[in-house]
């Protein structure tokens, strides 16, 4: 259970009736009674079952492909290979809802000749039963002739390296320049240089990718699918070769996403097969398909060179970032940009140089993952802050205090975030709640240590994507409320929050609202559920729509009461005069009056985020995001110096979320983000050998279980300064960012040496300790 900490400057200006309360979400009951249908739970009569045949070598040429034996198997209905798709390509970078120009990154739908990564799809099979589809997959004969590949981004940049993308494998470069970093470093009293590494991470949502497609009476390809982005209907239509209005995505509540269901997954395969067979088709990934089938978190190598004055000021910073984009581009340029913009973290750096490159290899492609590049930078800058404090012999909190960005300060791109920057309050509180520095690390093999990390993480999409979101709110004649919005709900309560916002404005309760969402043809398009944007964007659209309806209802009530509209309020399912609540009427009677007067009881709103041009390509100056979230995480660990085993003993989170909409949902985001961050720090790594995945199951890819997670001690600050509804910011991604560096800092505090590469496995801890002994 969290506490909401009321600081003097965050006294609520409104007493909310629904907002900020830990209400059960509107989707909770369906889930606990087993009634919620997920995309995989839908069936249709006569439906076919699909399988995807994949390459088992990462870099090769397809020299021979024979599907005749598979086709001859009784019950096999259709097999599609690249030969059937001579001119079809699929987009990999999709800005979703916006009309902005895409990058030139299209890829083959199925392997034509060149295989670039392990698991790249070669053929699609449709059969009468799953068993037959599986047997047919084994009968597809193909020969792959290995081609020398490249599996390390630094190798991939060397002259003569095998080319995977473009002319030189560099798929994106970003530069950020402010002041004069070289001069700042030259003038420094101390320069600290370190290189930090982060791993491939898997989203590991519990629901593997699944979908069901059919063609309706209007020749529209309908796809029921688990996705974060129903706006992919456009890219799917382009890939299949039909007009955009001939593809309809019907989402379902999603069994976890975390960015892993942000790109297209099974949709194009389903659409192609439904179009070919004219029968309903279903494709459900096995866990192994899922692990080889969707992009991972980009591994980053980050080299920080920090110039410090003796009294603890950062006077120059140079950051070099190399990200492994894997075999295809996908969202690499955007992920890398988040890494670059956030490279200095929530600190004032007047002399800054960031140079970031994303490089193609024959590893699994990498794309969106909660934290989206900003998290990898945070893993580095917060470890570097501790290293700097140590080199200066300063207290690590006091060193940070000398360098914080404060409200009204410019970030790396020269942009001034419009909201509060409360890093200092968050760090101080997190550190206080944890108990501050330990006097004693304990003798014996088990050492205890503490660490803290702050962060800066955006909410809302890149402003040059010109993001918009729509929602519709209407009131029925019996006083019930309907919200319609395309938003997808990936488990964080995105949909329920819209209901809470609408009923807050209309003065009714959560039981009175039904929310229709996630249908690209009939619910107004809300944009992606990504980038910590759903509450900010669609929450605002919903609030504005509800306010428009409210205004008309209030005007009608005022007319009946014989008062001005500004003295009328809605609450408790009544309309009443604020200073004279006796003068009132039931909400339902007011709605009936409006209906009989022909007053419009619904509204469709299009909310626009701030729009900007692209950042200056040479200096990276300009606006990148609408705004940023700030907060901190503090950790206590024990480290067994004999075995290298790390246990997280305490986990303390403090975030300025702007305004809490649903307390339990906010806590849930922080608890889940903490878990994913802890896994990233300690145990989770997708391992590839020559591009081949060697951790293809949950018994090899190790995530924190119920045995590993301490309860997170949460404090929420509410600056009410965010751009979201009621001053909310966002918490989906911020929750994860600071966890891993806080753990790394706690481990370094416990054992006196740092492990510069995540995950910090027992083996790496033991090796670091051995190295330290060797140096002494």
């Amino acid at each position: 259970m969290s506490t909401i900490v009321n600081l003097d400057d965050s006294v609520p200006n409104v007493n909310y009736r629904q907002v900020g309360k830990p209400l059960p979400r509107t989707d909770a009951a369906g889930k606990v009674f087993g009634k919620t249908p997920y995309a995989g739970d839908y069936q249709m009569p006569g439906m076919l079952h699909m399988r995807v045949v994949r390459a088992d070598i990462a870099s090769a040429e397809l020299t021979h492909l024979d599907v005749e034996k598979a086709r001859a198997l009784a019950g096999v209905v259709e097999i599609i290979t690249a030969a059937d798709l001579p001119d079809r390509m699929a987009a990999t970078d999709i800005p979703g809802q916006t009309g902005q120009k895409r990058m030139d990154t299209d890829q083959q739908v199925l392997v034509r000749k060149r295989v670039k990564y392990f698991g790249e799809p070669i053929a699609l099979i449709a059969a009468e039963t799953p068993d037959i589809a599986n047997r047919a997959a084994e009968l597809v004969a193909f020969t792959l002739k290995p081609i020398p590949g490249v599996y390390d981004p630094i190798e991939a940049m060397k002259p003569g390296a095998p080319i995977v993308q473009g002319k030189d494998n560099v798929v994106a470069t970003h530069k950020i320049k402010k002041g004069d970093a070289a001069a700042g470093l030259a003038a420094a009293d101390i320069v600290i240089e370190n290189t930090y590494k982060t791993p491939f991470q898997e989203h590991a949502f519990l629901e593997p990718e699944v979908g069901l497609a059919w063609i309706d009476e209007n020749e529209v390809i309908n796809i029921r699918v688990c996705t974060q982005v129903i706006e992919h209907f456009r890219a799917i239509a382009d890939a299949v070769g039909v007009p955009h209005n001939k593809v309809r995505i019907r989402g379902a509540l999603v069994g976890g996403g975390f960015g892993g269901k942000e790109d297209v997954t099974v949709e194009i395969y389903l659409a192609l097969m439904a179009k070919r067979t004219l029968r309903p088709v279903r494709l459900e990934y096995t866990r192994e398909d899922s692990l080889v089938g969707h992009g991972k978190r980009h591994p980053f190598t980050l080299t920080y060179k920090t110039g410090l004055t003796k009294d603890g000021k950062i006077c120059g910073l140079d950051v070099q970032i190399i990200a492994d984009s894997g075999a295809y581009v996908f969202l690499s340029p955007y992920v890398l940009l988040y890494g670059a913009v956030n490279a200095p973290g929530p600190y004032k750096v007047e002399n800054l140089n960031v140079f970031a490159q994303a490089v193609a290899t024959n590893n699994m492609f990498t794309s969106a993952f909660r934290g989206f590049g900003g998290m990898q930078s945070c893993a580095a800058y917060e470890q570097q802050m501790d290293e700097c404090a140590k080199a200066l012999g300063m207290d690590r909190i006091e060193f940070r205090r000398l360098n914080y960005l404060n409200t009204g300060d410019e970030i790396s791109t020269g942009f001034v975030p419009p909201s509060a920057i409360w890093t200092e309050k968050c760090v101080d509180l997190a550190w206080k709640n944890l108990g501050g520095e330990l006097a004693l690390k304990k003798d014996g093999p088990i050492k205890i240590g503490r660490g803290v990390a702050a962060y800066q993480q955006s909410y809302g999409r890149l402003t040059f994507l010109h993001d918009t979101s729509e929602a519709w709110v209407g009131v029925e004649i019996d006083g019930t409320v309907i919200v319609r919005s395309g938003v997808t709900d990936i488990g964080a309560g995105q949909v329920s929050a819209l209901g809470q916002i609408a009923v807050e404005i209309l003065g009714v309760s959560l039981e009175d609202v039904i929310i229709y969402n996630s249908d690209s043809a009939v619910t107004p398009l809300a944009g992606t559920t990504t980038a910590t944007r759903a509450l900010y964007m669609t929450g605002n659209a919903t609030k504005m729509a509800a306010e428009a309806v409210r205004k008309r209802l209030v005007a009608r009530a005022a007319k009946s009461f014989g008062v001005e509209p500004d003295v009328v309020d809605l609450g408790g399912s009544r309309a009443f005069v604020i200073d004279n609540p006796e003068t009132s009427m039931e909400f339902i009677d007011l709605v009936k009056l409006c209906a009989s007067d022909g007053i419009h009881r619904s509204e469709l709103v299009n909310f626009k985020a701030p729009f900007s041009d692209y950042l200056d390509p040479e200096t990276g100056q300009g606006q990148a995001h609408p705004d940023y979230v700030y907060g901190a995480h503090a950790i206590e660990v024990s480290v067994d110096t004999d075995t290298g085993e790390v246990r997280v003993l305490r986990s303390v989170a403090v975030h300025d979320i702007g305004q809490c909409i649903n307390r339990a949902a906010v806590e849930g985001q922080i608890e889940g983000g903490t878990q994913n961050g802890q896994g990233f720090a300690l145990s989770e790594e997708m391992l590839y050998e020559e591009g081949k995945l060697v951790t293809p199951s949950f018994s090899e890819y190790l995530m924190p279980t119920s045995m590993d997670m301490p309860r997170v001690e949460i404090s929420l600050l509410e600056s009410r300064s965010g751009l979201g509804p009621f001053g909310a910011k966002g918490i989906g991604e911020p929750a994860i960012s600071p966890v891993a560096p806080a753990i790394a800092n706690a481990i370094a505090d416990a054992i006196g040496v740092r492990v510069f590469e995540m995950p910090i496995t027992p083996e790496r801890v033991v090796n670091a300790l051995k190295g330290a002994v060797g140096q002494m």
Partner: protein
């Protein structure tokens, strides 16, 4: 299909006939008979999403063959309670925010019932141990542990049969 036979499975108190081959898992058979409330997360015994009670013991239905489940009492999340008569675990998961995406929830609640069947007064550590085969990627387990602890104490108060 050769090597198939008709079996009768007693699911949530009702006998259901199904013809399945010998290699069909209980998970597949349940989903084929419309019990899609039982989820598939891995088919390898790694995640616990497919957990059901078989004669009051929580098992991974993906590791159990349908043929061997004949004559036993199989309970899925839908057999525990309904919105009108919620099982204390369902009420606690709903009210305490223990379901986020909800995909692990059916297996998690069943596994929790398995823990309580064994031990009506489990400590926090015993609950953690009992649920360690059930992965959840959304919640960090905190609200799940709270909900299970709360439901167990409610059940003790109500003297519910374990």
């Amino acid at each position: 299909m050769k090597n198939s036979k008709e079996i009768i499975l007693k699911i949530n108190g009702r006998n259901e006939k199904i013809t399945v081959p010998s290699h069909r898992t209980l998970l597949e058979a349940l989903r084929e008979t419309g019990h899609v409330e039982v989820k598939c997360g891995c088919e390898k015994g790694d995640c616990g999403a497919c957990a059901v009670l078989v004669d009051n013991v929580a098992i991974d239905s993906c590791l159990t063959l349908a043929w061997t489940s004949e004559g036993k009492e199989i309970t899925t999340i839908s057999g525990l309670g309904t919105p009108d008569e919620p099982h204390p675990l369902q009420a606690a998961f709903r009210d305490l925010g223990a379901a986020q995406c909800g995909f692990c929830t059916p297996g998690m609640i069943i596994a929790a019932q398995g823990v309580i069947n064994d031990n009506p007064a489990p400590t926090d550590d015993e609950i953690r141990m009992g649920l360690s085969g059930n992965l959840c990627r959304c919640t960090g387990y905190a609200k799940i542990l709270d909900a299970v602890g709360h439901a167990a104490s409610e059940m003790r108060k109500n003297g519910e049969p374990s």
